[in-house]
């Protein structure tokens, strides 16, 4: 078996469109974003700049603007865009029949 665990975290409707929810799993805090066109992305809820809660930022396109100092983070890669450098850990996430499943590496989940 793989060492990644898929968790059901809720349905698409649980996340506001152009918004995000914070998900707590096994000591991890993950921001799960839903874009205007219903794509879902998951990043560690920590801005690579100074740890701002990305789930509270303004989601535009496939990017989120960090609420603390406005770094713009790419949802697909977790990477800061523009002149800024840094990367938030991304987690695999998928939508299955309206259910959102989030993948957390088992080792990580267990260790923390």
């Amino acid at each position: 078996m793989s060492d990644a665990i898929w968790y059901v975290i809720g349905s698409l409707a649980d996340i506001p469109a152009r918004g995000a929810r914070t998900v707590r799993i096994e000591g991890l805090e993950i921001a799960v974003f839903r874009t205007a066109d219903d794509h879902v992305f998951a990043l560690e809820n920590r801005c690579p700049h100074k740890g701002g809660p990305l789930a509270d930022g303004i989601v535009h396109g496939r990017k989120v603007a960090c609420p603390l100092h406005n770094w713009v983070i790419d949802l697909e890669s977790g990477r800061a865009t523009g002149a800024d450098e840094g990367c938030a850990v991304e987690y695999p996430v998928r939508v299955d029949a309206g259910e959102i499943r989030l993948c957390v590496p088992a080792a990580r989940a267990a260790a923390e």
Binding site: I5, I9, D14, P16, T22, D37, I58, G61, R62, N70
Partner: protein, 812 residues
Amino acid sequence: MKKLVVIGAGMASGRALEHLFEADPAAYEVTLFNAEPRGNYNRIMLSPVLSGEKSYEEIVTHDDAWYAANKVTCRFGERVTAIDLARKVVVGTEGEVAYDKLLVATGSAPFIIPVPGKDLPGVVAYRDLEDTNAMIEAAKPGARAVVIGGGLLGLEAAAGLRLRGMEVTVVHLMGHLMERQLDEAAGYLLRKDLEKRGITILTNASTKAIIGSGRVEGVQLDDGRTISADLVVMAVGIRPETTIARAAGLEVARGIVVTPQMVTSDPDVLALGECVEFQGQLFGLVAPLYDQAKVVAATLTGKGASFAPKELSTKLKVTGCDLFSAGDFSEGSNREDIVLRDPARGVYRRVVLEGDHVIGAVMYGDTAEGSWFFDLIRDKADVSAMRDTLIFGQAYQGGSPLDPMAAVAALPDEAEICGCNGVCKGTIVAAVKDKGLTTLEEVRAVTKASASCGQCTAKVEQVLAVTLGDAFKGSARKTMCKCTDLTHGEVREFIRSKSLKSIPAVMQELGWKTSCGCASCRPALNYYLVCDFPEEYQDDGRSRFVNERLHANIQKDGTFSVVPRMWGGLTTAAELKAIGEIAEKHQVPLVKMTGGQRVDFLGIPKERLTAIWKDLNDAGMVSGHAYSKGLRTVKTCVGKSWCRFGTQDSMGLGVKLEKLMCGSWTPAKVKLAVSGCPRNCSEATVKDIGVICVDSGYDIHVSGAAGLHVRATDLLCHVDTEEEALEVSAAVLQMYREDAFYLERVYKWTERVGLDTVKAAIVDDPASRRAYHERFLVSQKVAQVDPWAERVAGLEAQEFTPIVIEPRLAAE
């Protein structure tokens, strides 16, 4: 001959049989089951049948003669209830049939949202001829229909019912129509077209229940509204019809799982159509089903073929609503958007590029180029050579790209520059030369070019530059952001003159260069609309910064601060006690007096906010809006009631001002103070609006600041009574609200427009002052709600609660 049994006579199996008989008419003896009491017809043409543009007979694709000629045993009107894979038989309601090969083509079933009343007579889905006939039956002119679901099917149903004279309302859960196929901008145009034909559209509307005793009478929404209805059409989506396949033990995920050869987990059973799932993908349009049909025929006749899904395109079959959507059109960091809008013609066109390839396209109004873009997407064509002209379509390709200046210089005099007002280049050049014009504003005033939607602003400026040559001073204009060539002021004017009442409306009608704006223009537009249409505009929380969305200030560690109002800086022993108890109860990490004469709780986690607000509400306190571009504080000094120098009741006036103004949204934050005498203990002369009480009345000051800039106020006027002080303050605030640019504080605004302009409107002209005051009161009627109380009562509960997962594992 081998025996082939087919379950479902739909569009997919119909096409598969055609290919099979073509390839080898003698290969199989076919038995065809269909639950519907008829053979195959063109399901997608049910919409023209509904609207009356076609009859059922015209959409039949396979008639009795065809089935007879191909020796198909038809068991129409007979549902298959079971498949026995071990014995290789299919069980119909009227008996078994044995097979050598089985083809499952059961299509899909409409999804019915599980709300109370869903089974009432008068509630129909939209899938087959029975549904269509039920709708036609109900469609008496003047009768009312509610269509739940603003997707492809729902809108075709709505348009058809409307053509039959019904009063139609579409209830759609999402923010814009057809959100899977269209972006917000195209969704706006579609909505406008549908509304023009008399269809009512409700977005962000969630159905709570269908009501009626014995028969449907209406639809109740989550927000409490009820819409009466004689007919309710549910068109919210489809689910693959997999019941018998699952029961038989075939592998089923969301759909019946098939290989690229369209074979299921049983080697003698094939499946195709909307009932299958291929590599995690489901199908809801006919194009891929027809590809599958070819593969099925090949597999059945022993030829190798593989199914590979291709990009899809969508159109809506509503006459007059021209839309096209294909591929993936979401934004991304490595993606580039090219947008073309023609507000005058209601045209929107957007092409999404990734690297040198077109990966998606959305268009509305003029879809003639749709198939060309679709080819570019499917062929993964390299478009780097035509990037600059790509958006204009195929006819514009081939020429060498010009820089915009050279292009404008090369235009003939009769070339039209401003489409709205029909101003051509020659007119502008002549005006510039003859009248000695040097700025865009002058050109606009004289020629009317760019005075209507503003989209040609950049072009008009280029004509000006080309005409003036070196004498052109360059543009001093500061556009709102990279999404538009218009300034804040121009956008505000257009919003009013064209009565644009939503963000997508502004973006389309003013020719925004991006599809949905950015984090800089969205909050500005949201404010402008809140300000101009207080009673109509639906605030877009998603266009607000976190503090205004959560009604608390975010802190460096992601916690929040909570600042309740203390009117005029006044409090009571009871209030302080309650504050102490609440701080203790919730273990508030830090309690601080702010620089604004009130208390701040710091370090509150998001999920505790509503609990604290509730306790504060219960103790009689409300939000202090310490987080808003809105009224913050009104500081006061003790004034005449206690102070030996006090001249007027500064505390009383401060409280009245705060009660009058709290809750209002403004371009930037607004702070007031009232001092009881010119000693000015409440620092009124560094506030946006400051009142200094004097023996003879009140000096009203404006435009102070003590932040990044320290600036003393200017005297606006003197008034004799408290009543006048309140009216002048509110009027000046309203003028600022209506006139300033987003994020421009009062002092910057007055420096831009000149204090005299403000004096003229507020001091010298009593009628104008009263009008501003009146408009302020109207907007306050809507704005003066305690956002905390609303959220304590459950509004936007999602925003405040994280999803916490007890380790519940998904199926591996």
